[in-house]
Amino acid sequence: MQKEETARDAAGGRLSIRNVTKIYDPEGVNVMAVDDCSMDIAAGEVCMIVGPSGCGKTTLLNAIAGFHSITTGEIYLDDQLLCGPSKPQASMGADRIVVFQHGALFPWKTLLENVAYGPIVQGSMTKEQAHALGKVMLEEAGLSDVADKYPGEVSSGMARRVEIVRALINSPKVLLLDEPYRAMDALTKSIMHESLLEVYDRTKVTIFFITHDLEEAIFLGDRVYVMTTRPCKLKKVVDVNIPRPRDYKILSSEQFRLLVEEAKEAVHEEALKAFQAGERELA
């Protein structure tokens, strides 16, 4: 275990969020989305972010990805400053790839063309090379049958798996997942989890995963970060010491149940606060 972590450090992917605050200021009304939030995510860690709806989790993800600026604080990827006082908005880069909640495969490209997109636009491969590598990667993920289909022809579960392949072909240091399996039924979700774990065991890429689903968080994660209601800051970290590779048997284990309970208590408290705050706003 220790040895593996040093190996991962060489590949990079340590994410360090230091005292980050984000204040939205639309038309002079200050809304604090993230308040002095700090967390350290080790290279190769599967980090699950759990918190009430609208608490600012996605704001954090957007700041890491470079979609939005931050107000104060710093975010480092390994030793490189992504954003900080001198540079409020990180530049977007292929070392941090986002998989979106509703998916963002380009509908006008086949799944293989989607996968091959990154290396082609980065100029790191010719079209032929990128397609060849894309084919290999789709095959590894068990998706070679659908390579020539368009996103509109496959199920959302399939599309999401292809999207993860499209991210991985860029060899990102961090995979940023924003509730990718939210709209799926429980059965599809369990297949998605298995395939993501399989991908993780193969690549050991750092995963920053936002979710509402506690069981999902504990089943997939090394650590679960429970966030407070808005403004978002770290409330509790739950270490998940269940050994990998994991499979569905652990779902019924006592250890799993206890971890869910531990996290649930913290989340419930925040959810209640968020709910009450919502009620007050309405009244």
Partner: protein, 285 residues
Amino acid sequence: MTEMVQSGHDGPVVVRRSRLKKALSNVKFWRGLIAICVFLGLWEIGSRWESWFGVAFPYVGLIPAPSAVGLAATEVVTKIGYWTSWVDSFKRVFVGFMAAMILGIPFGLALAVNKYFRGIFFPPFEILRPIPPLAWVPASLIFWPTNEMSIAFVTFLGAFFTIVINVLGGARAIDVRYLRAAQSMGATQWDLFYKIILPGTLPSIFTGAAVGMGITWEVVLAAEMISGGGTQAGGGLGFFIWNSFMGGSLEQVVVGMISIGIAGYLSSSAVRALGDYFMPWRRLF
């Protein structure tokens, strides 16, 4: 045009034949065919009402019967003038439509991607857009040296505004997720434009083209009638109808009207076929 587009693909012949076979075994197809026959039958009866019963059937009785129209058509199609009318109208539609596409698509895209461009050109565009193309006819007759050019210009206007507004709307409506995904994978500004915005706008471009094509035919026909194209340039189908009307041949008027129906249908089919060709991912829906 349809044929040309289709032949660019693998095995189009197979697809076409099976489509025809499917149509022949389809209830909808026969229902449609019967509906058209019944319609023609009623029309025929209405027209012959007077000779059969001595009283004219209101309104419908004034229109020549389909059989008479058919007879007139067999006569008309042997005349070269009728076919030159087709060619003339098609030429005008084609010139006006292509000019509208060539100028309208880049203009619409430029409006969509550049806020300074939009700030300068959108307000005058919005003032000119509601002016119906036919309101431009007198002005363009004065402005352009030949009749032909003024017809082409008015035709162009008919399609231009529709295409631009569709392109602009389509390009602005592209989901920000696609742009972010592409950018985070390292796309340059040019990649974003060429590989995301352009294909993302294609469906709207073809919607605009289909609507624009319809407007183009309307405008061409009206412009041909107004300008009385027979004097300088070729008459076109609009003038064919007008001329038949002045000559008192109602059968020929109806032949001209049906010709325009067919011409419009062929043009929209061509636009649809092009759309299918350029947007293979849309064929699924």
